[in-house]
């Protein structure tokens, strides 16, 4: 198999039907194939039903966090049942490294978002301009959920696209592209500044029901958890058309930089289709600089390296020139 296919072709590009039939499928017995064909739509439907109809005592942030952790763990388990690529297989070292980034997101980045993120800024702006949006809480529940997801993903799309097109933002996002394999935890890997920036959004502008935000998080998880997961599914074609998938996102992680400049949306790939940045296909070899694995220390320092280099040049111009 080529390292990447579907991005460009020297001859006639295959159409959507051809690409769908060319995709590798789940191998195994009928039960396994049935499971990995219907798993994604079934979980999505279950998540919608749960967050719509669950009693209030169950629809809580603690339950949402619990579902998120359990679902990620389940996906890590499924990676061993229907694996996409053996060289993406999770090892103890990768698990430890990935969980460090997850832990940083849950603690330090969360703390920063609470105090200097978009939510406090929106609250302050609404208070200053005396804006009230309580009317939004009377919309149909699933409309509130969908608008929450769409507004967040729309903001994420443009932030992500900007990161690939403006150097000061790219240096915050580039470390995430140095991952050399994909698994269900890899979405958290990156410089904390990027994780903070990508979490900014104006979803908090509307005073939707608190439950709508939980539902948006849960339903979003049931779509985008797979985008970094090393799981082979027989993903339905309608799903590939609407949602971001491991196929789209692995292509976004291609080793050549130009191929990374596509498929920016986190959840709804149709946003990329609308703005002409969607490329259907998938890649197997991921990373940058030929697949160099970036250690944690360099991931943390990477956005500051241009400044560090300038400081070095200022302190010792001859030594830097010699380098």
């Amino acid at each position: 198999m080529n390292a990447a296919f579907g991005s460009q072709s020297a001859t006639r590009a295959p159409d959507a039907r051809e690409r769908a039939t060319q995709r590798p499928t789940v191998h195994g017995g009928p039960v396994k194939r049935l499971f990995f064909t219907w798993f994604q739509p079934t979980v999505l439907l279950a998540m919608i039903l749960f967050w719509t109809y669950a009693p209030d005592k169950l629809a809580t942030p603690a339950v949402a966090i619990g579902i998120g952790i359990a679902f990620k763990a389940l996906c890590l388990g499924l990676e061993w049942v229907s694996e996409r690529h053996a060289h993406w297989r999770l090892t103890w070292k990768e698990l430890t490294t990935d969980l460090f980034y997850v832990a940083v997101s849950f603690t330090l980045v969360k703390f920063a978002a609470k105090h200097i993120g978009s939510e406090p800024a929106i609250d302050a702006a609404k208070h200053y301009f005396n804006i009230h949006t309580a009317w939004a809480g009377h919309w149909p529940f699933l409309v509130q959920v969908f608008v929450t997801m769409l507004v967040f993903d729309f903001g994420q799309y443009w932030m992500h696209r900007a990161m690939h097109n403006w150097y000061p933002l790219w240096v915050t996002h580039a470390p995430h592209h140095y991952i050399t394999q994909l698994n269900a935890l890899k979405g958290a890997v990156g410089n904390p500044i990027e994780i903070f920036l990508i979490g900014l959004g104006i979803g908090g502008f509307f005073d939707f029901l608190p439950r709508a935000a939980l539902a948006a998080g849960g339903i979003g998880l049931a779509i985008d958890v797979y985008t970094h997961a090393n799981i082979r599914f027989n993903t339905p074609r309608w799903w590939l058309y609407l949602f971001n998938t491991i196929e789209h996102h692995s292509l976004h992680h291609s080793q050549d930089y130009q191929s990374t400049r596509c498929n920016y949306a986190n959840t709804f790939i149709f946003i990329d289709r609308i703005f002409g940045t969607c490329v259907d296909g998938e890649a197997e070899l991921v990373g940058q600089e030929g697949g160099r694995r970036m250690p944690i220390k360099e991931q943390m320092l990477y956005p500051f390296l241009p400044l560090i280099d300038k400081a070095r040049a200022w302190r010792s111009p001859t030594a830097v020139a010699a380098e």
Partner: protein, 172 residues
């Protein structure tokens, strides 16, 4: 393994704690198996991207920089392997250093500090401290067993895996 620098007291003190990031062990070589043959059988393990190695007689010393995930020795950044003869035959002794193990050992202290410093991370910081403690114990035991098994199988000339790990192959 040969240690030529540092005071004796310092070396003893270091030895008391370096089990945190060091995996040591030994494996008996087959009767008649030479050091050259043993190192030849292990050689493929040190031909990975980012790995440098050198032989000094019966000692092989290796270093790794940014080892790839599926490098079977990715956990260890440096180490020494030595073939020594004894009354009951030759054996391979290894002494492997791992920054990943040290990092995982220290991570709980970092997140306990975070939980103490940041009120909103009080619970999550402790949870992750617990997770990294469990990960360290699992990793320290697992990686020692895996490397012993890896060396034993390679020395016996067996392939330790039936599944391809090579990039560029399609599993489907």
């Amino acid at each position: 393994m040969a240690q030529s620098h540092g005071g004796r007291g310092g070396m003893i003190a270091l030895r008391l704690i370096d089990w945190i990031w060091t995996v040591r062990g030994s494996l008996s070589l087959a009767a008649g198996q030479s050091g050259d043959d043993a190192f030849a059988r292990l050689d493929a393990l040190f031909r990975e991207q980012g790995t440098t190695r050198r032989r000094e007689g019966h000692v092989l010393i290796f270093h790794k920089v940014n080892a790839l995930s599926q490098d079977k020795l990715a956990v260890f950044e440096r180490g020494e392997l030595q073939v020594v003869g004894g009354p009951s035959g030759s054996e391979l002794r290894y002494d492997l250093k791992s920054r990943a193990l040290l990092f995982c050992f220290l991570a709980p202290f970092f997140f306990l500090g975070v939980s103490a410093a940041i009120e909103t991370s009080r619970i999550s910081g402790r949870v992750f401290a617990g997770i990294f403690t469990a990960l360290y114990i699992a990793g320290r035991l697992l990686e020692a067993r895996l490397v012993a098994r890896l060396f034993a199988l390679r020395l016996a000339g067996a392939d330790e895996t039936h599944r391809s790990d090579a990039p560029g192959t399609c599993s489907a």
